[in-house]
Structure formats: C-alpha cells, structure tokens
C-alpha cells in the first residue's frame, strides 16, 4: 500500500501549483524534494568533476557517481559493470544500435513494431541506409498490442536484432519481452529493449527477462533530466565500439593515433557526464525502492482501471486502448482535433499531451493520426482523475475555441 498523501508531500510542485492536475508523466515525471536536494547539493556542497581530482570532494563524487552503478544494478538486477550512464534513453538506444553494427551484415533484419518510439526506430532506420540492413515490423492488433504468436509469425533466420519497448508509450501495451527474448535467442538474435516506459512503473529484472540491452531515462522516474542508463550484457559490451570518443573513456593514446580504451562501462562515457544527474538518479531510485516498485505497479493499475471506467461513461470520448490493463489512456473527444481538446483541458489546469507522441507510424495501426494521452504515476489520485473526467465531459468544439475569448 502506498500512503498517497505522504508521497505527495515529497513533491514540492503540488504545493507550488495547487490547481495543477499533472497527467503527463509518460513525457516526464515530477521530482521529489530528495532528488532536488541531491542535485542542488552537488552545486552547493560538493562540486567537482569525476575520475580526475585528487581532493576529498572529488573522491566523494567518484564514490557517489560510480556507486550509483550498484544502485542501478540492484534496481534492474545486473552487474554494476553492465551499467552505462548516458544522457537519456535515446542516447542509450543509439549507443546500443551503433555498437551492434559490428555484428551485422547487409541483408540482416531488425525486427520491431510500428508502436515504437522514434528513439527505437530512427537509429535502425539510419542503419538501413548505412549498413544495408532491413527494418521489419511484427504485426500488432488494433489496439497496438503485440502477442508472442504475432512476434513468432514475423521471426525468421535473417533477424539479427529484435528492438522492442517493454511498454509502448502511446497505448501503454506491455509486450511479452521475456517470451520474445527466449524465442529471439533461439534464432541467435540480440534483444534491445526500450525500458523508458516500464522501468519507472514496474519491477524490471534484466536477468529474468534475459534481454541483451535495456535503455531508460532518469527523468521519467522522478530523476533529473539529461541522465539515462544503458544496460548491456558484459560479453557484448566488451566487443562494442563507443559512439563517442574523448576524455575519460581512453586509458592512453599516442601521436600515431594509437588509442587504448578503458573497459566498459567507462569506455562508453566519453566527456564529463551529468554528474549531478547521476547522483540525482540515485536519489530517485532509492526513493522509488522505498515506496516499492510492486506497490507502484499495483496502485497505478488500480488507478488506471478507475480512470478507464470513468472515461468510458462519457459519450463524447473515444478510447483507443481500452483493453490494456496498464499505462496511459489514449483517447480523443469525438469531432475535436486532439490539440484543440488538450488546449481546453489545459484551460481547466489538466496537463496532458496531444499529438502522435513520437510514435509516428502507429496511426497505421490504431487508425488515428493523433490522440490525447493522459498518463499516470503513483502520485496521482482518484480526485485528480475525477477532475480530468469532468473536464473531458465538457470537451466540445465550441469550448475548445472558447479558450481564446
């Protein structure tokens, strides 16, 4: 059980914006005071670079920064040396894709779906051009969901990489990653999992899932911006090339161009990292662990079921993902363009997102160009949902235009 009033007290924005109903956590989450303090403490009390200084504060930051690998490892169940700090899920996915180039030859296939976020499609699209590989899509049902059977029907010998989100970002479909990874490995393919929408919301165990890579962003899980994680299996990381070269990731180099790189994970962290971001992410993970990922998952499921049921009572609302047990509610008000409707909701202090949410080919599956996405996190309440539903019941073309007068 989560004590919601206590949890909400940890988030200063609820005091500072008492009228705001924030239903856009799939875009980025709100930040608790402990994370804010961890970040600002780096500025006020212990500023330094990492892996470079010979003084006490620098040593403290080295311990905090590198120590965060252990915290992440305990969170997703891996070895700390398999935790690479990046700038966000996007950077993580790009690094994974770049590193896997070595294992690909022209004609090889990357299997994904049309529900994926741009960050898990465009890096592979780029490789179509540059490496002669081919991107293929496993079939989805009309609510954007992938089943194990549908995946297997699209799997074949030429598939070398399977690139899928554990939870997709528009419809919130949870994909059967564990079963898919098992099947993919039987074909000798690697599995790149986008955890941007799963890691913040549910317990994730990379050993149990047996994915080869997992990418996620700190900012969607109560952490700071500019910080993400790429988990990669050790035996793959040792063979992969870094996407970026520069300071800290090399051990030595000479004028003839010889470079000796450090071992993973530092090999993949060229340049000064977002140190305060990593320290803040650590505080975020510890905060989430204290509440308990199982509790978070269970509460969000309950909240989502309530939200869906209330929305289904409205005649003017069409919902695109009613059968998903979990994740955001994707909807439109009948006859009102998504952005107009979101503008009206904003006038009632309800923060949602409209558009295609970076999943620009999903419309081929769910049959609408753009949707409103209302996404939840464990700090949301039934009262907030009631306010959102009341505002949704008032969405009309007249009201959407009325906000300008």
């Amino acid at each position: 059980m989560i004590d919601i009033p206590t949890v909400r007290k940890a988030f200063p924005i609820f005091q500072n914006q008492p009228e705001l109903v924030y239903l856009d956590s799939a875009a980025t989450s709100l930040k608790p005071q402990c994370v804010i303090d961890a970040v600002s403490g780096f500025y006020t009390d212990h500023t330094s670079n990492v892996h470079r200084g010979d003084y006490a504060i620098a040593a403290e930051n080295d311990a905090l920064y590198d120590g965060t690998r252990k915290v992440v490892a305990s969170f997703i169940h891996c070895d700390p040396r398999e935790v690479i700090f990046t700038h966000n899920a996007t950077a993580s996915l790009n690094q994974a894709a770049y590193g896997l180039r070595k294992f690909l030859k022209p004609g090889d296939v990357v299997l994904t779906t049309k529900a994926e976020h741009a960050s898990n499609l465009l890096p592979w699209f780029a490789m179509q051009k540059e490496c002669g590989i081919k991107v293929e899509y496993a079939p989805l049902d009309s609510q954007g969901r992938l089943t194990e059977e549908a995946f297997l029907s699209a799997m074949h010998d030429k598939v070398r990489i399977v690139a899928l989100a554990q939870v997709t970002n528009v419809t919130g479909a949870e994909q059967p990653i564990k079963a898919i990874a098992k099947a993919a490995h039987a074909y000798g393919a690697y599995v790149v999992c986008d955890g941007a929408q799963s890691v913040p919301h549910m317990p994730v165990d990379v050993r149990d899932l047996d994915v080869d890579f997992l990418a996620f962003s700190a900012h969607k899980m109560c952490g700071p911006g500019g910080t993400g994680v790429l988990y990669g299996k050790k035996e793959l990381l040792t063979q992969m090339d870094p996407l970026l070269y520069g300071g800290d990731m090399n051990a030595r180099f000479s004028s003839d161009g010889t470079v000796i790189l450090k071992e993973a994970p530092v090999r993949f962290e060229a340049g000064t990292p977002a140190i305060e971001g990593v320290i803040g992410m650590r505080a975020a993970i510890e905060f989430l662990q204290k509440i308990g990922m199982d509790n978070i998952h269970a509460y969000e499921k309950e909240l989502r079921a309530y939200f869906l049921q209330r929305m289904q009572e409205l005649n003017n609302i069409e919902i695109y993902n009613p059968d998903n047990a979990y994740g955001p509610v994707a909807f439109n008000a009948k006859g009102v363009f998504s952005q107009d409707a979101a503008g009206y909701l904003a006038s009632r202090n309800i923060a949602v997102r409209s558009g295609n949410h970076c999943a620009k080919i999903l419309h081929e599956v769910i049959g609408t160009d753009s949707t409103i996405r209302a996404s939840l996190y464990f700090y949301n309440t039934k009262e907030e949902i009631d306010r959102c539903v009341a505002a949704c019941s008032d969405i009309s073309l007249e009201n959407a235009i009325g906000i300008f007068f």
Binding site: Q339, D340, L397
Partner: protein
C-alpha cells in the same frame, strides 16, 4: 466604425467565425495545376501538417488553396488567409501578412486590414498555439517572398 467592424469586436461572433472556417474551410483541397507553387509546412510542429498552394501572375495573387491535417486554429487561420490574399497585388498581400504577424505578436495592428482574421487576436495568450495560427500564413509569406514562377 462601420457595423462590420463592430461585429468583429464581439467574442461570440469571432468564435463562430473560427468554427465556420474550421468546419467549412474556404479554398480547401489541392490542385494538380502545375502553375501553382506550393509550400508543405510539416517540420514546424509534429502535429499540424498543411500544404498551401498559390498562383501569382503578373503581381496578382490569383488563387490560394490549402489542405492538410490540422487543429481548429491552423485550419481556420489558413482559411481566413486564403480569403484575404486572393485578388490582391503582391504588395497588398505582403502588407496584410505583415499586419497579421503584428497582431499575433501582440503589437499595434490595423484590424480593418485583417477583416475576419482578427478572430485570431487572442492567440498570443496561448504561446504554444502561435505556431498553429501562423503555419498557413508563414507558407504564404514564403511564396510571396519567392515571387512568381517555379522553384
């Protein structure tokens, strides 16, 4: 002040105008006629996707058309723009476009020049919608600047 301008001060009327232009946009639908230039506005925002066509001959804007997927503000502001442009000289058209951008930027402007497009006068209050109110107008401005002929 004539009665038309008076009406255009009434929020109810302006709201109706936006509704009308959204539900029944003017000069909607593209032509294959090769004498038209076109500008596809899709890179400014990830939602609105509008194409505007124009035919400018001997310094006169003979026709403007548009189509696309867009919100009320994008659609109605572009529809209003087509009404204002057609039949004007290039210079007149440019002056109207400038006046419109002054209004959108919340500067002094002449409402008489803008006619029904004054319905967009409050969009500046919603910063994220300024893109919507200007998407079609930016396309037109670009074509006016490029002048006649083909790209």
């Amino acid at each position: 002040m004539n009665s038309m301008n008076h009406l255009l001060d009434d929020p109810m009327v302006l709201r109706e105008l936006i509704m009308d232009h959204y539900q029944y946009p003017h000069h909607h639908g593209l032509t294959d006629d090769p004498s038209y230039r076109h500008v596809h506005m899709a890179s400014d925002s990830c939602i609105d996707d509008i194409t505007v066509q124009s035919k400018i001959v001997d310094g006169i804007v003979e026709d403007v058309r548009f189509d696309g997927v867009a919100c009320t503000i994008s659609t109605s502001s572009t529809s209003m723009m087509t009404d204002l442009m057609i039949g004007k000289t290039k210079e007149q058209a440019e002056a109207i476009v400038d006046e419109y951008f002054r209004m959108i930027d919340h500067k002094e402007y002449d409402p008489d020049v803008l006619e029904e497009a004054v319905a967009m006068k409050n969009v500046y209050k919603q910063a994220n919608r300024i893109k919507c109110a200007t998407i079609g107008w930016k396309a037109m401005k670009q074509m006016l600047e490029e002048g006649e002929g083909h790209e």
